[in-house]
Every structure is written in structure tokens, then in C-alpha cells.
């Protein structure tokens, strides 16, 4: 069985973390789901870079944050927020490639 991250998570969001970084949060509904997702080891720098067509070194951090049952990904912005050529000043609609990423997942 395969599921998207959006099927499994409670929230998948994107937002600027300051004008030069974009941060993506995946928040799981409970500890069990979070631990199962972590055990998949499905998100690494190369995978995330592939989802967005960027270089792996532009994916700065992938952090598992146990208190929130969340995984956070921070990427370098290609340009600073609001610079000429901008398409999303707040960075609030950049989550979809991550949300639609398919992972192996057996329904319990």
C-alpha cells in the first residue's frame, strides 16, 4: 500500500523562516503515526531536493521534532522574499510537492 504524506499527516505547511529561508512542517496526528513515519527514513536531503528540483545542498536541515510529532525541513530560498521574480512572498503555498510525496504505508 502506498500513501501520500498528506494522507498520513495532520498538517503539511510551508512558510518563510525569515526572508532568505523557506521552512516546511509536517505535523502528525499522534505519536504512533509520527514514529512509524520516522522509521520509514523516507525523507533525506536528496529526496527533498528532487521534489523541488533544487540542489541537495539547498536543503539545509531536516529535523525531527519529537515534542510536536513533527518533521521540519528548511530550504534556502532561490531569492529573498519579495525580490523581483517572486511568486510567493510569504512562502505559504510551496508545500504541495512534499504533501503529494508517496511513501510505502500499510493501513493499520
Amino acid at each position: 500500500m502506498r500513501r501520500t504524506i498528506g494522507d498520513i499527516a495532520a498538517f503539511v505547511t510551508s512558510k518563510n523562516a525569515g526572508p532568505f529561508l523557506l521552512t516546511l512542517d509536517i505535523v502528525f496526528p499522534d505519536k504512533a503515526t509520527y514514529e512509524r513515519f520516522k522509521a520509514l527514513r523516507t525523507l533525506d536531503h536528496v529526496t527533498v531536493a528532487g521534489l523541488y528540483g533544487v540542489m541537495a545542498e539547498d536543503v539545509l536541515k531536516i529535523i525531527e521534532f519529537d515534542p510536536a510529532y513533527a518533521v521540519k525541513i528548511t530550504m534556502r530560498r532561490a531569492w529573498s522574499s519579495g525580490a523581483v521574480g517572486e511568486s510567493d512572498v510569504y512562502g505559504a503555498q510551496q508545500h504541495v510537492p512534499l504533501m503529494e510525496h508517496v511513501v510505502p504505508w500499510e493501513d493499520a
Partner: protein
Amino acid sequence: MTILAPEGMLGYGIPPRSMAEGMKRNPDALAVDAGSTDPGPYYLGAGLPFTNRRAFKRDLGMILEAAHERRIPVLIGSAGGGGGAPHLEWTLDVYREVCRERDYHFRTAVIGAEVDKGWLNQQIARGRTSPLDLDTPLTAAEVDRSARIVAQMGFEPFMRALDMDAEVIIAGRAYDPACIGALPLRAGFDPGLVIHMGKILECGGAAAYPRHGSDSLLGFIEEDAFVVEPPNPDKVCTVASVAAHTLYEKADPYLLHLPGGAIDLARTTFEQLNPRQVRVSGTRFVKAPKYTLKLEGVRRVGYRTLAIAGVRDPILISQLDAYLENIRQRVADTYPDGYRLAFHVYGRDGVMGRLEQVKEIRSHEVGLVIEVVADDPDTSAAVLALARSAGLHVTYPGRKAIAGNLAFPFSPADLKAGEVYEFNIHHLVVVDDPLELFPIEIDET
């Protein structure tokens, strides 16, 4: 000690019931953040607020009314959004209008946060600046090109203003939690807990579920923990809502940097105290060896003119790139350089730009925003006018709709969007004294 954050952004709308319920809990201070870089570089550069004056005045009026009745302090950080001198002036103008209309007389502290270019260039020469989230060191040339530079003040200027018996503090650009945490920090509560509470309260009700609309949040700080609760009876704070909020807009949730140090969340615990309250403990403050301030600056890069149009014709949509290139070429025949022309194609990659991985157009219509940025407003308007008319009339292979290629929703089609700015300073500067950049003036009227 109890702090009420009436909302996460001054001017976004305080629900009256939340304010009333919050005041029933007898807060010791009302604290609200009024700024952000989220809306982009324009507002800092142009010296304008990103909130609406009428909405801002309403919210400020509600806060001052509550403070006047209870005689509790009001702390406002990042006044006017950008927190520079004109933003502070705009906020004071609204503030004085409210006070005049209602006959309020507060002892008011006004704290500036704009950075003098000469001073900053001296710091560069002394090697006291460093880049943040980017690799480019700060240069004097970049400082000189900036339209405006502010520094985010820490807790200390607010605490000094409280020492001066200020009843209302209106501060320029500030670290978001500074206005929330100044009173409890001054009272001697643990800095790690105070700062973490400030980080949660600065976004108001955003840390409560259901997460919709601008709303209030209460913070109760104790010796070894703090508790957060939404005054809105229809909302709850859960471990998930509060912990998830700790992630929000941060690059790394375990270590959050601030003027003079960082908070370390490695040992933080979140516990559900009851269905509406969450207790947070274990967050530690780590003092930095040197006290640094975050600098924010923007430079003007030109003037924008734009036009919005739609395309419905499938023959044109099927060869959109060639059509847009043809427009670009026709514009270049008349205006070879000195501007930037961009086409935002909604229905293809208008939202994600270069990050978009869906390459084909799947919809039956597309939206176009034609954008020109040039050094002066006249060139910007002239180039856009030519791009718009070329876009309407250029031909393409197989064209049936010979009367026009674009559907314009508005007349006039060409919209002057004014000055365009870009962030050019996002750096740290070391200071000896946390107060040195932030002059405090007391106003008794």
C-alpha cells in the same frame, strides 16, 4: 504573573469576546507585536504600515481602553510593521488620536530602532557584523544603498522603559517576544521560560485550535513553568497546537536565537493540564558570548507596473511559451534594456515558479500577470504598455481569434504598483550595550 496578548498582529482584529474573557483573568500587562518581515520588503522601504489604519485604530482603542480601566501597562513591539522611524511616527499619530478622542493620558515611552548608516559602517570596519542565513558579508556599499535599516531590539529597552514608569511603550523594530516577556523578565522569572512563552504569545491565538482568524492568548508564568490558554471559550490549547506552533516560521525548533543568546528546547516538555491549558517547562536560556542584534535592511530596485489578463483560447495556450517570447522580442525591439519584464503564468507555474515540477498546462484557461520593473516610473509604464499591446495583438500559428489574444478584467489595464524594494541586509551586529541603538523618549501628553 499573567500576560494577555490580545492578538498576534496589531490591526488584524481582536475578537471582543476574547478580549473581555482575557481581561477577566486580571492580566498584569497587555503586550502585542505589530511587525513582521513576512509581507515582504516594500513596507520597510516605503515607510508604510501593512495594516489598515482603521482596523489598527480599532484594535489599539480596545487595548488602551482595557489598560486605562485597569491601570496595567501596554507594550507594543515593531510599531507600524517595519519598526522604522516613519512606522513609529504613523503609530504615534493613531495613538495620539485615540488618546485625544478618549481623553486618555498615559506616561508613554517611545523607543526608536532605526540604524544610522555611519554607525553601521564603523561596525563593518571593526569586523562586528556577520551574515545570517546567507553567505554574503555586509559591505559599506550595501549599507549606503539601503533605503532603511532597522535593528531588532531585545528585552532590555522595554525593561528600561518600565523602569522609567512608562504605562504605554511603543517600540520600533523588536524581537517579537520582547514586548511579551519584558515585564516577567524584569520581575525575575526564568529567562528560558519567559522567552519561550513570548515566542508562543507573540502570534496570539495562533497556538490554539481551531486555528482560524486573529485571536488572543493568555500566558501565566510561574517559577518553573508557564501555562498558555486561549481566552476564546471556543478554542483550546493542546500539546499538539502549542508544540507545533514552536516550529512555526523557525529554521530549527530546538535552538531559537535571540538578541543576547538562544533558547534550547532539547529538554522542553509540553503537558496537557486540562482540556484548554498546556503547561510548558524545561526550556533553557543559553547566554551568547557576545550580544548580537539582528539587522534588517532593504534597497530600492526600481518601479513596478503590471497588467492582469486571461487567456482562454486553446490554440494560444498550446504554444504559450513561443507567444510570450514573441512579446518579449517585440518589446526588446523598441526598448533593448534598462528594465526587467516578467510573465507570471497562473495555471502553470504562477505559484511556485522555478520550484514547480508540473511542467504542462492542465487547465482550460490561464491567468497572466505581465510585470515590468524599471529604474524610473516612466520607463516602467512605457515598457509595460508596449508589452500589453503587443500581447493583445501579436499573431501566432493557427490563430483564429484575430481581434485580440487577451481578456483584461480591468480598465485601466496597466496598474502602477510603485516602488520595488529588496531585502539586502539580513545580518548580525555585535554591540556592547543592548540599549545603545534604541533611544527611549518619554512623552507625558
